[in-house]
């Protein structure tokens, strides 16, 4: 059933990224996004009620979802995994949906850091930076302009720089 569902959603993606769709008709779980399959891009598109644009630059496919005041870009490896996401616009996206289980991982990493420095003053209205072996996440900006990126270093294809994820 799962495979059929994924194959069905694949048909909605542009033909030129068919290769990554075929690859993901392997037993990946469907849901959420970062670290997940290309199919989850469509879950995000539905959740954001946005329009989708996809670009294949050979080393990865970038899917761009635009909705009210926010642009989200999701980066899919040739192996069919979403290895990075980036966002910009007047409002941050629904990060719980976009990051899936990695939201909790980033949350825990930062809480641990904050506990270690709990007697110290903390950054206020300052950029978020989370760097762990399994996840890198940044968000910066101010009222009317937010920018952020998150990626899983182990899933980033060879030849792709972190700065490409934007």
């Amino acid at each position: 059933m799962n495979i059929f569902k994924l194959a069905g959603t694949c048909s909605q993606i542009a033909a030129r990224i068919l290769l990554s769709c075929l690859v993901l008709v392997l037993p990946f779980p469907a849901a959420a996004v970062l670290g997940d399959t290309a199919a989850s891009v469509l879950d995000d598109q539905a959740g954001m009620k946005g329009t989708l644009r996809s670009v294949d630059n050979h080393t990865y496919v970038m899917h761009e979802i635009t909705s009210s005041g926010t642009v989200v870009r999701e980066f899919v490896s040739p192996q069919g995994a979403v290895f990075g996401v980036a966002w910009e616009g007047q409002f941050p996206p629904d990060l719980q949906q976009l990051l899936g289980p990695y939201y909790q991982q980033a949350q825990q990493a930062r809480e641990k850091s904050q506990q270690e420095g709990s007697q110290q003053p903390r950054p206020r209205r300052a950029p978020i930076a989370v760097e762990t072996p399994g996840l890198v996440l940044y968000e910066t900006g101010h009222m009317r302009s937010f920018h952020g990126q998150a990626y899983i270093p182990q899933l980033v294809p060879q030849g792709v720089q972190a700065s490409d994820i934007h």
Binding site: S68, G69, P92, S113, Q120, P123
Partner: protein, 495 residues
């Protein structure tokens, strides 16, 4: 035969009241010229409209020429006082008959010095509201008085954080002791708001207040009352889900979580959300329609949105100047600065030697300029007194609990900022000291405190309060004219 002509100097309209006869008769005489100006008393920089009455015999010419002993006067009699002055001035305005230069009328206009509003609110950087733990660092606080609109039911709130990175007054609900009237949306339901800051969000109803800071007052201003997650109405999931992982979550719920009793956003924009909340479909998760059944995103008009209080002032409303003295490396126990309202509106808020850095007012880069640092370009950069340090990407500096702790401290650095007009300012020098060392003192004001920000091409340099010490830093409001051009822009000088 008498003719009476009255010259009303409104534009070039000349009213001639003729008592019959032809207009081509030969001889004519001017008998008198009188003039008057309304209003007869004005301030420096203002105008007064003058008119002349010419009386004569025959088919006389009713035209006059205007002159003034100070200031200037147009051919139509519009008197303009000198732009500024410290003492009252009596100006003689003369209307002279064009036909007979010996016939003239005079009147006096009194020009008074402007009764300027006190536009200076003292700022203090200290440990924050009483009992705050851990103590606040690098946050500037002012005192603000709010009133139930149109009444003397007022409350003065201290330790209101000054934020040039946002717009609008937001008050922690537990601090509020007066019954501000709640604002309703177009459906007649209570209006709620979710506002996402960089490291968390605030949630709560919109209310209306009169706001007074120093000698400046804004009336009937929409403000936000920030409520805890246990409060009412409950925080919608579409609000809390914008919290970045590891962010502070609902940080407006208490004074301790917020680090201030309130926050006054005096930034680039007149309203907090702007056009994006007026007609987007679906509405963004920013303003909420809150019937008893629960809150859902809704569109609101600009007038319903939480407003920059400065935009509501009667004068000095085109921006702000934040001034701090320099502090030594290692920091100071406290620092006393000024929040000065207006740019170029009084003698104390001129741009002087500051460089203007224009920023876009719309798009994904609204409010951003470009910082060039370490050989890279950072196109999402901004100045923000509400951020409590320099936040920028530099992988060569070790991090420590969200701050930078350089091994060789101080780490002396330079950067160049460039506005959206493509013009670069002079090189900006700054230093980063080891945050652990800084925090080992009781100091609260640091010009050398910094931490990490986003790396790579999609990157940002956040010039927070560390940057403000020893400088004049201006934030000009969108669509307002200033001597440095229209806002929005940032401007600052070298220390």
């Amino acid at each position: 035969m008498h003719k009476l002509a009255i010259l009303l100097a409104l534009g070039s309209v000349v009213l001639m009241v003729a008592c019959g006869g032809s207009s081509s008769s030969g001889s004519s005489t001017i008998t008198s010229v009188t003039d008057s100006c309304s209003p007869p008393t004005i301030n420096y920089g203002q105008t007064s409209q003058c008119s002349a009455s010419v009386m004569g015999l025959g088919n006389f010419n009713s035209a006059v020429t205007w002159s003034a002993s100070a200031g200037s006067i147009s051919a139509t009699g519009l008197f303009s006082a000198p732009s500024s002055g410290d003492v009252s001035l009596l100006v003689t305005v003369t209307a002279t008959s064009a036909q007979d230069g010996s016939k003239l009328g005079t009147t006096t206009v009194t020009v008074n010095p402007t009764q300027s509003a006190n536009n200076m609110a003292p700022i203090i950087v200290d440990a924050g509201p009483a009992g705050l733990q851990p103590p606040s660092v690098n946050v500037g606080f002012v005192t603000v008085t709010i009133c139930v609109p149109g009444t003397n039911t007022c409350q003065t709130i201290d330790h209101v954080a000054v934020d040039t990175g946002s717009s609008g007054l937001r008050i922690v609900s537990s601090v509020l002791s007066i019954p501000l009237p709640p604002a309703n949306d177009s459906s007649g339901n209570p209006l709620g708001e979710c506002l996402v800051f960089l490291d968390g969000y605030v949630w709560g109803p919109v209310a209306t207040a009169d706001i007074t800071v120093a000698g400046e007052k804004a009336s009937n201003v929409p403000v936000q009352v920030m409520v805890p997650s246990s409060g009412s109405p409950p925080v919608p999931g579409s609000c809390s889900n914008q919290n970045p992982p590891g962010g502070a979550g609902n940080e407006g719920g208490s004074v301790n979580a917020f680090g201030a009793n309130a926050l006054i956003g005096v930034g680039l924009f007149q309203r907090d959300c702007g056009p994006a909340c007026v007609s987007n479909s679906p509405p963004p998760a920013a303003y909420y329609d809150c019937p008893a059944s629960g809150c859902n995103p809704t569109n609101v008009t600009l007038a319903q949105q939480v407003a920059n209080p400065v935009s509501g002032f009667g004068s000095d409303n085109n921006g702000v100047l934040v001034q701090f003295p320099s502090v030594p490396d290692g920091g100071s126990l406290t620092s006393n600065g000024l929040l000065i309202f207006g740019i170029g509106t009084q003698t104390n808020n001129g741009l002087g030697d500051s460089t203007v850095y224009p920023v876009p007012d719309t798009g994904n880069n609204a409010g951003n300029f470009t910082t060039m640092f370490n050989g890279s370009s950072y196109p999402q950069s901004f100045i923000d007194s509400g951020s409590n340090g320099f936040f920028f990407p530099d992988s060569s500096i070790p991090m420590c609990n969200g701050w930078y702790c350089p091994t060789n401290s101080p780490d002396n650095l330079t950067a160049v900022n460039q506005g959206s007009n493509g013009q670069s300012g002079p090189t900006t020098h700054f230093s980063i000291e080891n945050a652990n060392n800084l925090f080992s003192t009781n100091n609260t004001a640091f010009s050398t405190l910094g931490g990490p920000a986003i790396g790579g091409a999609n990157s940002s340099f956040d010039w927070g309060l560390s940057f403000f010490f020893g400088r004049d830093v201006f934030t000009a409001i969108e669509n307002m004219s200033t001597p440095g051009g229209p806002g929005p822009y940032f401007a600052y000088n070298l220390p």
